[in-house]
Symmetry: C2
Subunit: 404 residues, 2 copies
């Protein structure tokens, strides 16, 4: 029984994801689809629209067989660490393929680009450094340097976020000496960051979220872009919690933490350095909401995503010591859900998994999982007060979602 | 120009306070009344009903000439440290008398009790220790030990909180070798903690606050117990902020901080020790509101007041290192308000003050005041979101209240 692995956020699951899932199965002839999914906070430093449990249901109802959680310490990270965590989880399950979407769609370009970056590391790093000193962000410097050094027809475009992720996935496979075979599929239409609808059936998750927030859960606008199950599960969630999760729900708590902290304490939080701590505190005193706050702290030097990740780490109190303890490889497999077929696969294979399988939080006492627990607790501050405790407790009591 | 000093919270200023103020003037023939008043958080570990600025107005309109703030690091403290701070401020201004209310009303009993406690320190401490091991709180052990050792007709009743405070005031005067002359006046009727109305015109602040909270600012219930100015100032505040401050307003933020903290981090907070940190986190996960939370953490060992002070310190992030840096003596005089007469007194005397006079926060950069700044910022999380920033900024811009 061949298995293909996907690395996802499903925020929310939409037609583009369904297309990618089917294409991954077609390309690999795999019978089992394993998804490694970010938990309640995402790589862009944002709370997920709906909880990881609801997003797991979306995944299972749309063709994924097994969902593992990408632990917080890998999920809310730059591409390299994100890839290390996700790939190490797929590798630990003995998965055969890793199939990722990319702007390029040509796996040979990935290999050639990685080879170039290894061979010409010194010249490339030099060039990146030059661009960084002009004041641009690191990702921008990276793509500018590469563009200047290479022929664009022969290599990847490093200004595209999914190309960058793909490179990191393949590098992680190499580092782990994993037998995972990387496959890439061209992304359909929508750019990652597009915030408007550009096609009849495929739209970016960003544009779907935007529509949901501006219309206050009027699903008619998004129905053509998401499977019916997604639409139902979103509606169900909204109905129960009267809201989706977004940064503004957490603003008061972030502001509170910033106003009670000294710059010295803030520097214990992951990614807080170079004096940004003073800037954050000063901006918190002047901002009525998260958007205002972000606009105040934004500079050319830091990407919006990196700043949002900092804010997430302050919110969850993710410290340098915790976040840097292990950035190379996951240490557990947190099972969020499975179909009947997924369960069969697990039963057959789990004895050979190279990492412990965690089905219930209460039975896993390792220190590494404490960040996921904190993240789940803090995520609950985005729902109305009277539902908060119930959500916190659910994290401990919820068995993996099972779809038979 | 003789001055009499009072140590107050005015939460809010009521007829009992007016009576005490007049009695202090009568007893000392002082022309000037100087009050040292707790800021936004009080000795019982609670947010003040209304801000220190509004309470300063109450004081000035009712006969106080000068109001100094008792810094957070002394205000939210056990009796001894509270007294050290307050007495050192009065001493620094060259004030002549300290007049405090007490259950006893007989200053000679205070002196005799203090002498006894000094002479019989060893026997007394031994006895207190015995009672502590039975599991009762420290204050309770203290009064039980004293009761067992002494003849109650000759000495103070140490179960009365104002007797305890009085003892600490006099001890502080001795330690400072201050020329302040202590005077005590019997408290009228109401017990400190009484929560019901027991007289026609005098009621405890506790009962007044209770009436305000249960009637949602229907002042008719409290009018007979407070001067007209208090009633007006309370109404004005409530009208502007749509609320008074109470612990429940801050519950979400306390819960947030407890759920994002590790026990190890909590132990950096002042007064958090002996494993109470684990108990606090566990209770926070189970409590819908502050009252529920307090009932969960209450034990015989800790008084309600001490637990509330812990909660206040967690809320303001007051760390052991900050709170214990100096517990003997204030290091600045923060002027909150003055009448015309108060101003004349200040102009005449301030050159001889033994501590720096702080009229505006922006002009005082010493590290010691950072706790007061944090406390003011955090206090603003008790008002509606859209008024929060305005309140935070006010702390920096507000000159002392001046009543001419």
């Amino acid at each position: 029984m061949k298995a293909v692995g996907l690395i996802v956020e499903y925020n929310p699951f939409h037609n583009g994801h369904a297309y990618h899932l089917q294409a991954a199965k077609d390309a690999t002839k795999a019978e089992i689809v394993i998804a490694v999914m970010s938990g309640n906070f995402l790589q862009r430093g944002e709370p997920a629209l709906v909880s990881k449990w609801q997003r797991t249901r979306m995944a299972l109802l749309n063709g994924v067989d097994i969902v593992f959680e990408l632990p917080y310490q890998f999920a809310v990270q730059k591409a390299e660490t994100f890839a290390n965590g996700a790939v190490s989880i797929l590798d630990a399950t003995g998965c055969d393929f890793l199939c990722f979407g990319s702007e390029s769609g040509d796996i040979s370009l990935f290999h050639r680009t990685i080879d170039y970056l290894e061979l010409e590391k010194k010249a490339f790093d030099e060039k990146v450094k030059q661009f960084v000193t002009t004041g641009v962000s690191y990702p921008k410097a990276l793509s500018l340097a590469f563009q200047q050094l290479t022929d664009s027809r022969m290599y990847l475009d490093l200004s595209k976020p999914n190309n960058i992720l793909g490179i990191e996935y393949i590098k992680a496979i190499k580092k782990l000496k994993s037998s995972l075979q990387p496959i890439t599929i061209t992304r359909k239409n929508a750019d990652y960051h597009d915030d408007h609808f550009a096609s009849a059936t495929i739209a970016s998750a960003t544009s779907i979220r935007k529509a949901l927030f501006t219309t206050e859960n009027d699903n008619s606008l998004i129905e053509q872009y998401v499977p019916e199950h997604t639409s139902q599960l979103l509606e169900e969630y909204y109905h129960y919690y009267s809201d989706f999760h977004q940064w503004e729900n957490y603003w008061g708590f972030l502001q509170f933490r910033l106003l009670q902290s000294s710059p010295y304490e803030l520097k214990e939080i992951y990614e807080i350095e170079e004096g940004i701590e003073n800037r954050l505190i000063a901006a918190a005193i002047e901002s009525q909401n998260f958007k205002e706050f972000m606009e105040k702290i934004k500079t050319k030097r830091y990407t919006w995503t990196r700043l949002q990740r900092m804010c997430t780490h302050i919110l969850t109190n993710a410290r340098k010591t915790e976040m840097t303890a292990n950035t190379e490889k996951a240490t557990y497999l947190r099972l969020l859900g499975m179909t009947q077929k997924g369960k069969e696969y697990l039963n057959k294979r789990k004895a050979h998994f190279s990492l412990p399988l965690v089905s219930k939080l209460s039975s896993f006492k390792e220190k590494e999982i404490s960040l996921d627990i904190k993240a789940a607790r803090i995520y609950s501050f985005g729902v109305p007060n009277h539902l908060r405790l119930e959500m916190v407790k659910k994290e401990f009591q919820q068995p993996p979602i099972y779809l038979d």
